[in-house]
Amino acid sequence: MSGKKESSEVIRLAHGAGGVLQEELIKFITKNIPFKNVNNGIGVEELDDGATIPLEDYDKEIVVTGDGHTVYPLFFPGGDLGTLSICGTVNDLIMMGAEPLALTSMMIIEEGFEFKKLEKIVISMNTMAHKANIAIIAGDTKVMPRGTLNEMIIATTGIGIKDKDIKILDNNIRTGDLIILTGSIGDHGTALMASREGLNISTDLISDISLLLEIYDALKLDISNNYIHAMKDPTRGGIAAALNNWAIKSNISIWIDEVKVPLKKPVTAICDMLGLDPYNIASEGRALLAVDPEHSVKILKKIKSTEIGKDAEIIGEVKVQNPQRVFLKTIVGGTRFIDMPLGEPIPRIC
């Protein structure tokens, strides 16, 4: 069919939405990279949140993450592009079990962009970096001719450090592990959608954007004891993409109990109205953890003692049968798949 031809010829928006197409795009870009890791550390092939560079003769390794930050609108309820660039970078480092050290920041700005707006974004970045206790050590700026870019984007590199024997990886989940979610899902994506023009939805809902540092600090001991097998922040593609990723990479199945998944009322209402699935919608201040069942209660308690993790819940478990699939026990007791999202969630029309 002609549709097939179209997808093989051009990049579509859905190629950036965290689903099946994004994987295709990443494979297309990365397949012929000549050197894919350093000192046998985690490299680009693992498609994890970041990479590691093991330091010879030391028991530490450097963790590196790369992140491009684009958001529309630039200023949204609960944050802006500046907040997003720091939170996204720091959270990616933490999800690898690393202590955030420093980051670099590259700003690409459209000709005609107001200094006033830039100032707001820079202030947000600095405020967040201060909160995260992370240095911004290098960067670059480029200005693009009007119309070649929509306002501005930020690209960052995050640098962290961790013990070599800490293994927090997407392919490290074991049968029997329990899945913890640190707070309500979909707040960020839903708040953004509601704030865009054309839908005329009025809501007090704000983005969940935040640093996950507080949770990292509370769990340091469990991280170094390897009680936590995997961590992931469910950004693009929501928890559906994150959980499917885990199920595939660890070759296990994940069974989620819908009743346990924290969900805010306005998110449910807006998603019902627009025909969207909250499981596919991005959060920017939440984490999923796959943890050793013996230590799960203690870990949950520690997460719940933090401000950003007070609504945390154990939402599911890992099984061996039907590997590479995610199942949902629905609120009325039925069972269905949670599938890998295919593209950008689009509000229903009719």
Binding site: G3, A269, V332, G334, L342
Partner: protein
Amino acid sequence: MDIPGIKILRSKEFTDKIIKAIHKTINEIGKPIKFMHVCGTHEHTISKYGLRTLLPKEIEILSGPGCPVCICPAADIDKAVELGRRDDTIITTFGDMIRVPATSISLAELKAKGADIRIVYGPNDAIKIAKENPNKEVIFFAIGFETTVPLIGYELQSGPPSNFSVICAHKLIPAALELLMSQSQLKIDGFISPGHVSTIIGLKPYEIFAQGYKIPNVISGFEPNDVLLSILMLLRQLRDKRFDTINEYSRVVKPEGNIIAQKIIEDVFESVSSPWRGIGRVYDGGLVIKEEHQEFDADKKFDIKIEKSQDIPPGCSCHLIMVGKLYPYECKLFRKECTPINPIGPCMVSMEGTCNIYYKYHSNDNS
């Protein structure tokens, strides 16, 4: 922001009670039962909440031709494509419609080639575009069942600008249900009837099924316990050998329907024998614009002739899936060549299409 009564309608406690009663009733009936729904949103509810996994295996829920995007004939899309190729036109329609494969190309592909195709949320947006672009012919590609018809009728009655016209591809649900009843091999024991359509047409058009065909009919809402309750209501009728039209969705649907909307439909359109994609010609199954409004009928205004069109591409089983003769996972293209990213048949496109829903929520092995 809550829907009234939402707690009960999604309460597991209530679900458990209904399921228990369903088990009891099917045991009393003592034979396998097949019900059909004809609404994409019902299939969505059934799949999203995993309702089939809760039902006894003796009860089969078939998915009927309830997705307006899916049953729109390729010839009508071809018409929109032909008009869209002209330099002086803007084609407007609902979002799902632009990706549906037609005989040569879809509206989305035509848009990628530079044609002015716009997604709108309703005909009022199309009228606005027509007013803003007086030098263009703005054509609204109107699809949908009784639910969307009054919107277009209202705009035509309100005197739209002269550069506005409509490709009228509206279809009527009760006529299609009757056609399905005549397909003896399906052996449907009851209908879960569409709540949205019934909001407009009321209960009367369904009387023929109870009286003529002796099969029960329940008009159902869209929450999980709405659908389960409707299944129980159907079963109890079968057990007691009663054949009525019962309104489960009474919090929204009035017995007489929406009289104002019915009047608009009657004043602006007339029913005709009409082709449904994958199903064939349905007697009284579609609408055309009445003569007094024909200046806004794109068919009359532009005289477009579609010589040959192809509804079902080779290998595609949409025509069998749409009438409940096949489940999506029984089609050899499903999940292989045909996916929501590269839909081959119409049922894979819309979020109300049976194949699209099965792709998202069902596996080949758990069905």
